[in-house]
């Protein structure tokens, strides 16, 4: 290569770096420290989501309007994230909807392998708009071979005395033959 009077820039010759193996940690080949965090936190969900969860406890799915953007939003929030204006006028929506997307999961919430897959996906809730407008939930009373996008579904609620104001107050959504 021609000799130039440019300033030299050096770079690592081995960009892949050095492999580190778990045995290196066990055998204390590398310096390391071990720390088990004990972290607790509380999260305030705000007035809109609180009202939504109270609604679930009463067996209702609630939505709220952004009149400016002509949206009827669920899950509800205090402001519309598109126009940043306040939302108002609460509406009780139906507990029926349409499957917008789904997955057949062979992993449980802790990423353990499972034999019997979990059916999970997003439901576009009837009455809310613009479509798709809804939330994520489980599906039940259907097999992995029956589930499909566009399928009509209806919420299956926990008995009233078991509801606690959580999204799991709905057990799952089942196939729905009605209109």
């Amino acid at each position: 290569m021609e000799k130039s009077n440019k300033k030299e820039i050096t770079y690592p010759k081995n960009p892949a770096g050095t492999h580190l193996r778990s045995s290196d940690i066990r055998n204390k080949v590398i310096t390391h420290s071990w720390w088990e965090p004990e972290i607790q936190y509380a999260w305030s969900i705000g007035p809109a989501m609180s009202k939504f969860l109270h609604g679930l406890k009463e067996g209702k799915i609630l939505g709220i309007h952004c009149h400016k953007c002509k949206r009827l939003i669920t899950p509800p929030r205090s402001f519309c994230e598109y126009c940043y204006g306040p939302t108002d006028t609460w509406v009780e929506l139906k507990d029926t909807g349409t499957i917008n997307t789904y997955s057949i999961s062979y992993l449980d919430p802790n990423a353990n392998r499972i034999e019997d897959p979990i059916l999970i996906g997003v439901i576009s809730i009837d009455g809310a708009y613009p479509k798709p407008m809804g939330f994520m939930h489980y599906f039940g009373e259907m097999s992995k071979d029956e589930i499909k996008i566009g399928m009509r579904v209806k919420a299956v609620w926990k008995p009233e005395n078991e509801r606690e104001g959580a999204i799991t107050d709905i057990k799952y959504f089942k196939p729905y033959g009605g209109d």
Partner: protein
């Protein structure tokens, strides 16, 4: 898959291409010169329709670039690669209220970067791209978000070989996250490094033929929500 009748086979072709492209990348974790579409389609089902070989591995890694001002860059090199445009965008956190097919956060970030770079027709002016590919289907999503093809066309271009390293529009010539690895939070650096290597002709075995002039890189974050885009040009 439902909206544009995209086939699993065509999605799997992305993984095959990237894992093969990664052969020759010094940092590659999952390069495989012999992988086939059948290998991907027969791999363990994780969360249908996503299978093990559709997914990049979480990796440890770092990437670094030296940025230099125009005033002094000639003290260091005769052939710098220029950053022509950058863009970023965040869509609503409420992803269950959004169109899940088209990544609007990518298209808005791309428009911002293209405007800064003076790119009016990305399909004609961009020679190759490094879209974010943590899953094979996301490369297809992001190609369309980068406005490099019409909606629903990315799987067809992939099937026809257009996105191969020697095709008309090479995509992830580095091997991407699927082939090299997914060093979460360092991935945009990984993409930008590949743009530099390709545009300076230093990509070695991974070099795109024909002296590419303009490349675009992109990364993705949060829940299908945030994108950053960078346009780079040979000096």
């Amino acid at each position: 898959m439902t909206v544009y009748d995209v086939k699993k086979e065509d999605i799997a072709r992305v993984s095959v291409k990237n894992k093969r492209n990664a052969v020759g990348h010094p940092c590659a974790q999952l390069a495989d010169p012999n992988i086939t579409v059948e290998d991907v389609l027969n791999s363990e089902i994780m969360a249908w329709p996503v299978q093990r070989l559709d997914i990049s591995p979480p990796s440890d890694g770092a990437a670094a670039l030296i940025y230099c001002s125009e005033d002094i860059v000639r003290q260091y090199t005769d052939d710098p690669v220029w950053v022509d445009g950058v863009g970023w965008n965040i869509d609503s956190t409420m992803w269950t209220n959004r169109d899940l097919y088209f990544p609007r956060y990518v298209s808005e970030a791309a428009k911002m970067a293209y405007k800064m770079a003076g790119i009016h027709n990305p399909r004609k002016e961009i020679d190759f791209a490094e879209p974010y590919d943590p899953f094979d289907y996301k490369e297809l999503h992001h190609m369309e978000g980068l406005l490099l093809c019409d909606k629903g066309q990315a799987p067809i271009l992939t099937r026809e070989g257009v996105t191969q390293r020697d095709g008309d529009l090479p995509i992830c010539p580095s091997g991407g996250l699927l082939g090299v690895g997914n060093p979460i939070a360092a991935t945009m650096g990984q993409k930008a490094c590949e743009l530099y290597w390709q545009l300076s002709g230093k990509a070695g075995k991974r070099q795109i033929p024909g002296d590419p002039m303009v490349g675009v890189g992109q990364a993705w974050g949060d829940i299908m929500q945030m994108a950053t885009v960078i346009c780079m040009r040979r000096g």
